[in-house]
């Protein structure tokens, strides 16, 4: 546990700062120069991070674990494949800017929603209680806003851990995006829970990332992800249990050049028996990690968590129970 804490490259302190500066520059440049001009520039920037950054090792580890877990040799890391994942990130940055400027049309986005989660969104406009969407950094989250903004009009509160939220809000409003609200959350406290509870009662929805751990909050749970131990946040599940509301998963993957927003129900009634809270949360986190692993196979290069994701081998072995891919 302490090992993860001292890692200098925790995403909340480092990665977002880098990519924020990068994005700010890109946002400016794209507006001035256009996407076509920016593309090679951005590719050069990403090439720089590929060559000199530490993320390359982390991406290689992810690809190796994914290949091993799925038994698919064609996913094993090669320099070309690792670079491919970096380029996919560059591509997603460009797409993000299109989303902000509203130039990514509905025609380029399809919806995969077999259980009609969207129908539930609509119903909360006519008095039903809001629910929770757990998002992931697999794929392009910003495109999900195409859904939230273009048609749905359902107020969405996005909870973020890092302190760059204010910057981010400003950058977004500069880019003409004012629909959704970013709430910076450093810890789960009574005032926040009351606020969220009232928002749900008003029919607003909450979105929170399930695949990143907060910097300060010690509430994390170690689960098996792609065959190895990784720390996941307890936050989303704790919140769902406290607020007693259903949870759905949301991600947006780029498949064959088109975005596909995927919505699926995950947890219908989040509650725990007396004394079973930790077990319940660990169970949901594990099931989430299992589902996330399957989603990774749909878009293997769109895993945009470039920091050290897994526990070092020496950590967390005490409670390790290696599991195979659950099918």
């Amino acid at each position: 546990m302490s090992g993860t804490r001292v890692q200098a490259n925790h995403w909340a302190t480092q990665k977002e700062r880098g990519s924020f500066a990068l994005m700010k520059l890109t946002a400016f440049a794209v507006r001035r120069l256009g996407r076509r001009t920016m593309q090679p520039v951005l590719h050069l920037v990403v090439l720089y991070f590929f060559v000199f950054g530490r993320a390359r090792r982390n991406v290689r580890q992810y690809q190796a674990y994914l290949a091993e877990w799925s038994g698919r040799a064609e996913l094993r890391p090669t320099t070309r494949r690792v670079f491919g994942q970096f380029m996919a990130f560059a591509d997603s940055l460009l797409d993000r800017l299109d989303v902000w400027r509203g130039t990514l049309g509905a025609a380029q986005v399809s919806l995969h929603d077999p259980a009609d989660v969207r129908g539930r969104l609509h119903r909360s406009l006519s008095g039903e209680r809001g629910q929770i969407l757990v998002c992931t950094h697999l794929g392009n989250l910003d495109v999900c806003r195409a859904l939230a903004e273009m048609e749905e009009k359902v107020p969405l509160n996005v909870l973020v851990h890092n302190r760059h939220a204010a910057h981010f809000n400003r950058l977004q409003s500069e880019a003409g995006d004012r629909q959704l609200r970013l709430l910076q959350v450093s810890e789960v406290d009574a005032a926040l829970m009351l606020d969220l509870s009232q928002r749900l009662d008003r029919g607003e929805w909450i979105a929170i990332a399930g695949d990143r751990i907060p910097l300060q909050d010690g509430r994390r749970v170690v689960v098996d992800f792609l065959g190895h131990r990784a720390a996941f946040a307890q936050g989303p599940w704790l919140m769902a249990g406290l607020l007693r509301c259903p949870v759905h998963l949301m991600c947006c993957l780029k498949i064959d050049g088109r975005y596909q927003i995927r919505l699926e129900p995950f947890l219908e009634a989040a509650s725990w028996e007396r004394g079973q809270r930790e077990q319940a949360i660990a169970g949901w986190a594990q099931r989430y990690a299992d589902r996330l692993a399957q989603l990774c196979l749909l878009a293997p290069w769109q895993w945009f968590n470039f920091y050290a994701y897994w526990q070092a081998e020496s950590e967390g072995d005490a409670d390790a129970s290696p599991r195979r891919a659950a099918r």
């Binding site: 789960v188 009574a190 005032a191 829970m193 009351l194 509870s197 406290l242 007396r274």
Partner: protein, 95 residues
């Protein structure tokens, strides 16, 4: 005049709320004396239980529990403290 009765019935009410909210089915309101500590050695609640309880209190009594850590710990120490806190938060409306 009936402040004492009110306090007692509010305490009873809060004890019942604690039992219902935290699924302490094997307890009765009478099993939680107003002065028994709710946390650690007392009833053994933890910080997440406190959150759950705060949410329930806020909904039930229409009050807002401030998360000022030091005061919250004091207010949530016992059922009696909670009753006094709820009463004080409701006071402006009572008159």
């Amino acid at each position: 005049m009936n402040a004492v009765i009110d306090q007692a019935s509010l305490e009873q009410d809060i004890a019942r709320l604690i039992i219902d909210t935290l699924n302490l089915e094997d307890l009765q309101p009478g099993d939680i004396p107003p002065d028994q500590p709710l946390f650690r050695d007392g009833l053994g609640l933890d910080s997440v239980d406190a959150l759950e309880l705060a949410l329930a209190l806020q909904k039930r009594y229409g009050i807002r529990v401030e998360s000022d850590a030091k005061n919250a710990r004091e207010h949530f120490a016992t059922v009696a403290n909670l009753a006094a806190y709820v009463a004080s938060q409701q006071a402006p409306c009572a008159d």
